[in-house]
Amino acid sequence: MSGPHPPADWTADEMMTVAAARQLRDGTACFVGIGLPSTAANLARVTHAPNLVLVYESGCLGAKPDRLPLSIGDGILADTADAVVSVPEVFNYWLQPGRIDVGFLGAAQLDRYGNLNTTVVGGDYTTPAVRLPGAGGAPEIAASCGEVVVIVRQNLRTFTARVDFVTSVGYGAGPGDRQRLGLRGGGPRLVITDLGVLEPDPVSCELTLTRLHPGVTREQARAATGWDLAVAESLTTGDPPTAHELAVLRALQATTDGSRR
């Protein structure tokens, strides 16, 4: 793995999760996938964004779990939600009309325009080298949310020049494509990795490295990218996790691990 060597007191995954959590604004509604997006969204809710509305595709609107849900259908989501609706309703009445501000997605592959693949890698569609879980809610989350935040580990397998399958559209083949396709949401605003943060260039829509996590170099980021990675002139280095962020994140994960027994 080409990941950074983190300082001893936090891991690259912790940095990524904290960086993602910081991007969620209080009072917005966030459509959350399970795994890293869910961890980051719950971290945000417990730290700076107490009124962040978490929407899960299982039909839980406004879930407020006190530990990390173990799956998209964890009972704690229903128990703590403002409303539990059917799965058709969550997609038709809540996601599709553009009521959700932020879609928070992971991916197995991503290209320079933020198109995402969670379907197949290698081979062809019917005989793939690796069969992934598939689309789930992602295509419409990517299409309809006000904006999309992607959280994904950055390496040569995930950051590919061309995704093997377009499961969810980012900026398509470039500027104007979302409009041409009739996609109403704004598309990827941020890609947060274990190395740093990427944002689409306002003109070309190409993902551009705008921030590095502490201890990571631009060369490491470029080496972990399967295309010639654009780097912002104003490249900055983000703040490391605070003691509070780390404590809360680890406490969330500890209660989760406890509840797995």
Binding site: I34, E57, S58, G59, C60, L70, S71, I72, G73, D74, G75, L77, A78, V84, S86, V87, P88, F91, N92, L95, Q96, T119, Y125, T126, T127, P128, A129, V130, R131, L132, P133, G134, A135, G136, G137, A138, P139, E140, A143, S144, F165, V166, T167, S168, V169, G172, D177, L181, G182, L183, R184, S259, R260, R261
Partner: protein, 272 residues
């Protein structure tokens, strides 16, 4: 009026070789016991339908029951991949598995159309993705008022839908609560339906968040306490997270899987 019958009888009567079968559930209330009974009775050539095929579908696929899978997300929830599903797709073991693949929004609307007696549903979905290339069940449709192009998905009408619920009464009225996913639509979209329940009670006390399916809209109800294990039934049981994690190792290897199947499904009775 739904018939109250033992699980083995219900599966024998309602699930046939070659059927289109949906065992629905969204992490919660997964009809594992019914799936095991389908394996025990040796059903073959099934088209399995589900938004979120998980461990029970991994088992059905690995056991050789399925010819085709119609789905939108296949994984071991909270753990990772489904190894029997991957082995079937990547290496055709124990046989080839044809896929028809959708998004959640598309699958949910396909059930809605089926439940509504319509041949299709309309949504904003799939646009720009590679998904429509691989199935004829996704097509463009124009709004007759605005001219805008939207996406149509074909109705899904399973031969039989199987779900698990918390309770039923003696008239076969079914009550479920918590995360109830797409179960109502999946039952109403199907030609026949089987509901396994934690218990049959004299009267269904109303519960917040309940979904009630009237007995006259359900074909059969079977009392199967714990029939959702290792998933959970809110108010009755908690999720066996260890099982889901252990499944990752059990299912990676064909022989280990077959041994597990033999010991925990084939040699177990209809209540396993």
């Amino acid at each position: 009026m739904a018939k109250l019958v033992p699980l083995a009888d219900a599966v024998a009567e309602l699930v046939h070789d070659g059927d289109v079968v949906a065992l629905e559930g969204f992490t919660h209330l997964i009809p594992f016991a019914a799936g095991h009974e389908i394996i025990r009775q040796g059903r073959r050539e099934l088209t399995l339908v589900r938004m979120t095929p998980d461990v029970i579908y991994d088992q059905l696929i690995g056991a050789g029951c399925a010819r085709r899978l119609v789905f939108s997300w296949g994984g071991n929830p909270g753990v990772g991949s489904l190894h029997r599903f991957r082995d079937a797709v990547q290496h055709a073991w124990p046989g080839p598995l044809e896929l028809e693949e959708h998004s959640h929004a598309g699958m949910a609307n396909r059930y809605v159309a089926g439940a509504s007696g319509l041949p299709f549903a309309v949504l904003r979905g799939y646009t720009g993705t590679d998904l429509p290339r691989h199935t004829a069940n996704i097509r463009p449709v124009n709004c007759p008022f605005t001219g805008e192009t939207l996406t149509a998905v074909a109705a899904l009408r399973p031969d039989v839908t199987v779900v698990h619920a918390q309770r039923a009464d003696r008239a076969g009225n079914v009550q479920m609560w918590g995360i109830t996913g797409v179960q109502k639509e999946a039952v109403l979209a199907a030609h026949r339906s089987l509901v396994t329940v934690e218990e049959i009670v004299a009267e269904l006390t109303p519960v917040p968040g309940q979904v009630v399916l009237p007995g006259w809209a359900v074909t059969a109800v079977a009392e199967v306490p714990g029939g959702a294990h290792p998933s959970y039934a809110q108010g009755y049981s908690v999720r066996d997270n260890d099982f889901y994690r252990a499944w990752d190792a059990v299912s990676r290897d064909r022989a280990t899987f077959r041994d597990w199947l033999d010991r925990h499904v084939h040699r177990a009775g209809a209540t396993a």
